[in-house]
Symmetry: none
Subunit: 184 residues, 4 copies
């Protein structure tokens, strides 16, 4: 049997570099960017990518996970504001807006957002965000400012179905349209 060994130092460095470069490339060109593109942008060879990530899918998944972490950060910050008195309903809506806007210009976040709606990536990257979101929703429901039956997966679903590929004007109209979904 094998205990999971800590990666060798240079291997760790490489993994980090791959992830960082892949993120940048996917943000810019979307998840259809070629593996060689990513490799050479990272100053590595494709073989090295494949050593760390057996499949392109795995690499993309890792990048997406990162983005979900970032979302978690944003959510926790929002919850922090709610705890300090900000209105939950407002924070929730603003969160939705920000994610949609950000994802529109960010191919990696776009995939992340869409993945969230799947319920797939929950453990463990989304756990923190989910918890924070649950608290915000709970607070809003407690104060009667958020729809009674709204759940965290509901919100993820809304994020995932946002018109991320449509022009700004369309995105804004969608956010306007969707607003009542959150309210009681």
């Amino acid at each position: 049997m094998h205990v999971k060994q800590p990666l060798r130092a240079d291997a760790q460095r490489n993994r980090a570099r791959i992830l960082q470069t892949a993120r940048a490339q996917i943000i810019e060109h979307g998840p259809d960017v070629g593996m060689s593109e990513i490799a050479s942008a990272a100053g590595l060879a494709v073989g090295t990518l494949y050593r760390h990530f057996p499949t392109k899918t795995d690499l993309v998944a890792a990048v997406v996970t990162e983005q979900i972490e970032r979302l978690a950060d944003a959510t926790e910050a929002a919850w922090g504001r709610v705890e300090t008195g900000a209105p939950a309903s407002e924070e929730l809506y603003v969160f939705l807006c920000r994610v949609v806007e950000a994802a529109a210009d960010n191919g990696a976040l776009k995939v992340a957002a869409q993945t969230l709606g799947t319920g797939f990536a929950c453990p463990p990257a989304a756990v923190r965000g989910t918890a924070a979101l649950r608290k915000i929703i709970g607070a809003g429901q407690g104060s009667g400012s958020i729809r009674e039956d709204l759940t965290v997966p509901d919100l993820y679903l809304l994020v995932a179905t946002g018109p991320l590929d449509h022009p700004k004007q369309t995105r804004e109209r969608w956010l306007e349209l969707i607003r009542p979904c959150l309210l009681p």
Copy 2:
């Protein structure tokens, strides 16, 4: 000038067969099926596909257009019911539900639905549907049962952003969530 000549009988048969096969293939495998796939499924050679549709894009567009026609039919039927006393708000929602459900199992309709959201494919396939939809919305607004600022493009946007690739349970929840968007 060129009067559109009626196609030869066998060519008509083949064109129909191509369209029908392409529809089936696109429904099942999405619009990325290969032309050869479609050709051999239709018992024809690729060249024949290209005789009828100069480009893969054109073939897909034809299939998508068919689907938009079907949508238009459904919409006009709904308007017919509203005219005979059915509640507009209800018909509108049911329409949304049906489209989402149908598109979920139908790669061709899926593309059609998403195309509608673009505003691109309007003429002439979507005109009928748009007109009917406008009447339904107008009726509902007249009777105060539909959100005052709702427009046809709004509805198309909702359709286009429906969770078409998600499991049935998710789709149903989304429809439930979205309901208040239509109401006053």
Copy 3:
């Protein structure tokens, strides 16, 4: 056994129309123009082309033959002028210039010119031209103004190797360069 029957009237008309259209198309787009292009430009179907010309090659050959006839006309005219006192050497050179210039803008004539050099199309289209050319050359040699060993095939060879696809300036330089080939 079969005596070669005269073509039916409409078949003759069709053959003429095909030839005329093919000529126009080949002049404009070169001999790589598609059969369907020619067919539809002639208001006929490809099948009809193939009835008259078993092969694309045959059709092109027919067009080329026509052009060779035109060349023959030009040559006989030149000989006419020589007979009436024009200097043979000059007429010969001018003939060369004209053919090169004309062929540069005329895909059909271009092929014709190149074919001439082959010795292939001699009978019967080129016979007239060849005779006239022989007389011009003979006259020039008689008066000592044309290279003693120059023959008709030589001239065809020069025509065939003209820089027909090069820019005007290049063609003119080539004509200048080649001039001494004709002189004693």
Copy 4:
């Protein structure tokens, strides 16, 4: 910036094999051979060809360039002989003869010769040859044995318009015909 790294040993072998095979195939079948033809003749997959040459055009260009280098070698050799006393006029003519003869049996050299006439492929493969040629012509003009206004592009034009596709007898006659073009 990118320093041109030495290719890996096996890649170098393959690149050489591709070039060699492509040359052979182009010599035999002309530049219209399929990439797959070349690939399988080289015992490789098409992808490998495309790794070394991003485009078919690039591969053909590489082969053609090789041929131009060979021409340059021949020209420099000729100039060497002129420097050691050989008559420039003779060397120039022999050069022309050799190129025409060689190109007639060599589809790759044929394209090379025709490319030269375009003035397109000058740098850097043709530079050497051009310089040597200029010296030969200059020498001949100095001694009064070569036409006063003859230039290097003129010679390339003659090479490019040689009857490369005609039978040997024709080519020889053409060379005979053309001889006076070089003389004063």
